[in-house]
């Protein structure tokens, strides 16, 4: 089965701007998501550059502390909701129908809306930078009572979070419905590629937790403007309750940002090791266990708020338990490589760096689970190092690996391999230069979210800033490589990679606008 395109069935499609505004095609929407995500990656990255420039040396040289807090808050919101999540949704849009042999997503119009909400959400959010009082500065975690001190930006923050949540829920519904109903004949659940599996589980997480976030921020809104006291102690509320609710959303959110990454890595490693994924079933069960555990560990983000001892013990044990299925995944990847015949194209390089560096982030996560030690680590730069290790060389490297892996399928051209490798090495070295020293300053006692620091932290902060600038500017190579690849380059074959298996590699490159109008049959 090769091409399954019957263009004669389709009405002529609009071109130009109208095409993108009104498109219901999963490939177009996937591209929109990915381009939006790349744009936000640079916007959030610019904010990170401001942060690192100010932290380059002690003393305040560039920005006011208030503006610094706006930068940390906005950097997090934009990177999480604007860059990482839309990138995964974009990859799902492009690849899930191709991987399960479906002609499109099950609900194409819903798909269009769920993307086009995002530009509005982020226009609202970014517009706050130009308001009197500036952007939100209370941290992306929006803890009351601090967040209630936000000025005119407050309702914009709340409504943009609502819109992002709405978009995510719609996207998640679409993905579940597609996977449950649109699989090609013979594509049983346990034959689905792991990327599809991880996204199916992620989508369930999204549907369960995004409404909780929406509810929590709605309560912040009523607390500020309508005189309720959900989180105000003076009125009988409880500020810590917000933290419980937020992290009940927030911890699954962490896995929302990493499970699809696991899926991508589980596609790429077998391809370049030329060997089937080791322990497919175990991988599926591990993903499901991680998703389940993610709901019962939220309070490990708040060990210092004064929880009862029993609560602290429970959340410590549950959190440590997550290391087990996560370990299973890492061991399976290593076993997949073992006695394979590996080659090291850019996607594989990013995937290997993912396994190494995500595991380091996992180790620091295990350390953070030990409550007595967490009393020291909590809210220090050690935590900043930890979550950047799982998010940057974790989630972001997986996205980059995925983009290099599937780019030839999307554009029909090979990207520039030399430039890709250069991008990889610059990124991999600078990401460690940026985030590894943060472990040290955190252990030595530097709190997070501060614009200026005591002089004993100066050396490592300077190193981290230099690393951050190299990392930031290296990403321009990534954007340039994608742009070049979209415009031309060596022709890609259908299979693209020698060791690639799966339905997405049976359609021509570039993948035609409509694929699998006649469902393929999976043996």
């Amino acid at each position: 089965m090769t091409t399954a395109t019957h263009t004669e069935h389709h009405a002529p499609e609009p071109t130009g701007l109208r095409r993108w505004l009104t498109t219901t095609n999963h490939k177009d929407i996937g591209s929109l998501y990915l381009m939006f995500s790349l744009l936000m990656f640079f916007v959030g990255g610019a904010m990170a550059m401001v942060i690192r420039a100010e932290l380059f040396q002690p003393g305040l040289q560039l920005v006011d502390p208030g503006f610094f807090n706006q930068m940390t808050t906005m950097h997090a919101l934009i990177m999480i909701f604007g860059a990482v999540m839309p990138a995964f949704v974009g990859l799902a849009n492009w690849m899930v129908p191709l991987m399960i042999g479906a002609p499109d997503m099950a609900l194409p119009r819903l798909n269009n809306w769920s993307f086009w909400i995002l530009p509005f959400a982020f226009t609202l959010l970014l517009s706050t930078l130009f308001m009197p009082g500036g952007a939100p500065a209370g941290g992306w975690t929006m803890y009351p009572p601090l967040v209630l001190q936000t000025g005119d930006a407050f309702p914009f923050l709340i409504f943009s979070v609502h819109l992002m949540g709405l978009s995510s829920i719609m996207g998640a519904i679409n993905i579940i419905v597609t996977i449950m109903n649109m699989r090609a004949p013979g594509m049983t659940l346990l034959k689905m590629p792991l990327f599809v599996w991880t996204w199916l589980i992620t989508a369930y997480l999204l549907i369960l937790v995004m409404p909780v976030l929406a509810g929590a921020v709605t309560m912040l809104l009523t607390d500020k403007y309508f005189g309720t006291a959900f989180f105000t102690a003076a009125g009988g509320g409880d500020p810590v309750m917000f933290q419980h609710i937020f992290w009940f959303f927030g911890h699954p959110e962490v896995y929302i940002m990493i499970l699809p990454a696991f899926g991508i890595i589980s596609e790429i490693i077998p391809t370049f090791a030329r060997k089937p994924l080791f322990g497919y079933n175990a991988m599926v069960y591990a993903t499901a266990s991680i998703a389940f555990l993610s709901f019962i560990v939220w309070a490990h983000h708040m060990f210092t708020v004064g929880m009862p001892l029993a609560g602290q013990l429970f959340f410590m044990f549950a959190t440590m338990l997550i290391a087990v299925p996560t370990g299973v995944k890492v061991f399976n990847w290593v076993a997949t490589m073992w006695r394979g015949a590996m080659t090291f194209e850019t996607p594989m390089l990013f995937a290997l760096a993912f396994v190494f560096l995500f595991t380091i982030g996992g180790f620091s996560g295990l350390m953070l689970a030990i409550v007595p030690a967490d009393m020291q680590y909590h809210d220090s730069y050690f935590v900043v190092a930890h979550f950047h290790y799982v998010l940057v060389p974790g989630a972001v490297f997986a996205i980059m690996a995925g983009v290099y892996y599937w780019l030839p399928k999307w554009t029909g051209h090979m990207y520039d391999e030399k430039m890709g490798k250069l991008h990889f090495w610059l990124s991999a070295i600078s990401v460690n230069l940026t985030f590894f020293p943060m472990h040290f300053v955190g252990l030595a006692g530097m709190p997070r979210r501060i614009p200026d620091y005591a002089t004993q932290f100066a050396d490592f902060n300077a190193v981290a800033s230099v690393g951050a600038f190299i990392f930031g500017f290296s990403q321009l190579l990534f954007a340039y490589n994608i742009w070049r690849c979209a415009r031309g380059g060596a022709k890609a074959t259908s299979q693209v990679w020698e060791g690639a298996h799966g339905l997405e590699w049976t359609v021509p490159s570039p993948a035609p606008h409509h694929t699998f109008d006649t469902p393929p049959v999976v043996k």
Binding site: H9, H10, A11, E13, T24, N25, H26, A102, P103, D104, A106, L107, P108, L110, I169, A172, I173, N174, I176, V177, M180, N181, M182, I207, L208, M210, P211, V212, A214, G215, T218, M219, T222, D223, G227, T228, A229, F230, F231, G235, G236, G237, D238, M241, I245, H513, H514, D517
Partner: protein
């Protein structure tokens, strides 16, 4: 467009049913959460 016209009616019904159930589930989480919180914090006076 793609797919819309060609889905067989049985599958289309199934798609819509699943989507509605999921949307209701999300709404139910939101509402249930709000009720629990309002009860717990006596926040809405």
């Amino acid at each position: 467009m793609a797919g819309d016209g060609k889905q067989d009616p049985a599958r289309r019904a199934r798609v819509i049913r699943t989507a509605i159930i999921l949307a209701l589930a999300a709404a139910a989480v939101y509402v249930a959460f709000f009720l629990v919180m309002a009860e717990r914090s006596k926040g809405i006076s």
